[in-house]
């Protein structure tokens, strides 16, 4: 493992933990306000698309599990869906890197919707009371809306250049 990759991994862990803390910050969500955006998902999505070799599979799973445990989410369900999302982005990374940002945003929106749907389904299948769909839709919309901001901030932080148009 190169020093550069190790540094990237450490940054991913740090950003992941910060994202979890930001999600869990007590900002009045229990009163029925907007749920926190899924910042960890956005960080993992960014790294999986831009630097597919950086996120280790086990690391993504561990971050997801820590988030499940700290934020009282269904344990295992959030980690599994985050892991699956990371693998999906990794598989699509080559295409997404050469596609317009809108395509990347669309992919993030679709994969996030799928992860929320799987978690909701797991809760329903195990006879727990699931949240109302509009609550999930609000979290989905808020998270997708934040992705462009995450791209700009992380690119600036890691000095990742803007993509160049594909040459034919």
């Amino acid at each position: 493992m190169t020093l550069q990759r190790l540094a990237r991994l450490s940054l991913l862990v740090l950003l992941g933990i910060l994202a979890i803390f930001a999600e869990a910050a007590p900002v009045g969500h229990p009163s029925g306000g907007l749920p926190s955006p899924d910042l960890l998902f956005l960080v993992v999505a960014f790294f999986s698309v831009r630097r597919p070799s950086t996120p280790l599979m086990v690391l993504v799973f561990a971050l997801g599990l820590i988030r499940d445990l700290l934020t009282d989410a269904p344990v295992g369900a959030g980690a599994l869906t985050l892991f699956a999302a990371s693998e999906a982005f990794r598989a699509l990374s080559r295409r997404l890197r050469s596609a317009p940002v809108a395509a990347e945003l669309l992919a993030v929106a679709v994969v996030l919707a799928a992860t929320l749907a799987v978690q909701w389904l797991l809760v329903v299948l195990t006879f727990l009371q699931p949240p109302a769909p509009f609550v999930l839709v609000r979290q989905w919309a808020l998270t997708v809306a934040l992705y462009p901001l995450v791209i700009v901030v992380l690119r600036w932080m890691f000095r990742i250049g803007w993509r160049r148009p594909r040459r034919y």
Binding site: L18, F21, A22, E23, A24, A25, P26, V27, G28, H29, P30, S31, G32, G33, P35, S36, D38, M57, V58, F61, L65, I66, L69, L70, T71, D72, A73, P74, V75, G76, A77, G78, A79, L80, F83, E87, L116, Q119, L122, V123, T126, L128, Q129, P130, P131, A132, V135, L136, R138, Q139
Partner: protein, 315 residues
């Protein structure tokens, strides 16, 4: 065009790494599903794991979330200046503490009046409390809970009621050394037995993720009016009785609901109560057979027979 030269070692490594990936994927899926099944079956091990992780992250978490919480509060109070805000924060903490004393004073006054009126009354055990800061909330859409920075070290026990200055907030469902997890009344899994005053009707307060939990299993709901007070009934011995919960509201779509007294939008500090019900029976055996060393009360035991059990059964 020359064909690219393929390193045989490299070519050998690719299927091997693919196999490793598949094994990791399989393991991750298996571990996730096992953890989910354990969580769903309310395994205490999952709660222990959760609280161990919370304990490990509590110091850094309060450090990291405090600025975000502060920023959110400041956005809400954007009209105030920074120093006024800080002063307000200190004063709110003071008010919280004084409200606790006021509630204690009122309870003592009431108890005193009752004791003057009655003789030979058995005193209700004293309820004490510990105040903690809210350091995190669940954030996601699936649960409604918060973490507070008081735990076993401060004497917090599982099932303890938590109140803010005005009313019941929730109950403790997980305790670590340094932190505890409170399940709020709005959570999907929250069920609290309540009594509605002045009618005295009993009901169950059922959380459904909204700010107005449902009132279910109410006898003759037409006797209940909007604005009636809702208090804990104390049934089950988990929560103390007569804690203010909120007021009844009637909705067209879903019937009776509760407007909670606790202010969830400003949940900065909570008081976790130390409460023990009046009568505690630790083991059912001590009801029938006294502890070792104590004699039986009542008529002498019948003499033992050879087929003792059978004789007892026939008798």
């Amino acid at each position: 065009m020359p064909r690219p030269v393929v390193d045989p070692e490299e070519a050998d490594r690719e299927p091997r790494s693919r196999l490793v990936r598949r094994v990791i994927v399989g393991l991750v899926v298996f571990v996730s599903l096992v953890l989910f099944a354990l969580w769903r079956s309310d395994s205490p091990r999952v709660e222990q794991l959760r609280m161990a992780v919370v304990d490990a992250f509590t110091p850094s978490m309060s450090f990291a979330t405090a600025p975000i919480a502060l920023a959110a509060d400041m956005m809400r109070d954007w009209q105030s200046f920074i120093d006024v805000y800080n002063q307000n924060r200190v004063l709110r903490r003071e008010i919280e503490r004084l409200r606790g004393w006021r509630a204690a004073a009122r309870a003592l006054e009431e108890e005193n009046a009752q004791l003057r009126a009655l003789n030979n009354v058995q005193l209700r055990p004293k309820t004490t409390f510990v105040t903690g800061d809210v350091i995190a909330d669940s954030g996601g859409p699936f649960r409604r809970s918060v973490l507070v920075n008081v735990g076993l070290r401060e004497g917090v026990g599982e099932g303890a009621a938590a109140v803010d200055g005005v009313g019941l907030v929730g109950r403790v469902v997980g305790v670590g050394d340094r932190a505890a997890r409170l399940l709020l009344l709005t959570d999907y899994a929250s069920r609290v037995p309540v009594v509605i005053r002045p009618s005295g009707k009993r009901a169950i307060l059922v959380g459904d993720g909204t700010a107005l939990p449902l009132l279910e299993f109410v006898d003759n709901p037409e006797e209940i009016k909007p604005g009636d007070a809702i208090m804990t009934s104390g049934e089950g011995g988990v929560l103390p009785p007569d804690l203010p919960v909120g007021q009844v509201v009637r909705t067209r779509s879903s019937g009776l609901r509760a407007r909670l007294a606790a202010d969830y939008s400003r949940l900065e500090f909570v008081r976790v109560l130390h409460y023990r019900p009046e009568t505690q029976i630790s083991t059912s055996g001590t009801l029938i057979v006294p502890e070792e060393g104590e004699g039986l009360i009542g008529p002498p035991a019948p003499p033992a027979t050879e087929d003792g059990d059978a004789a007892a059964g026939e008798g």
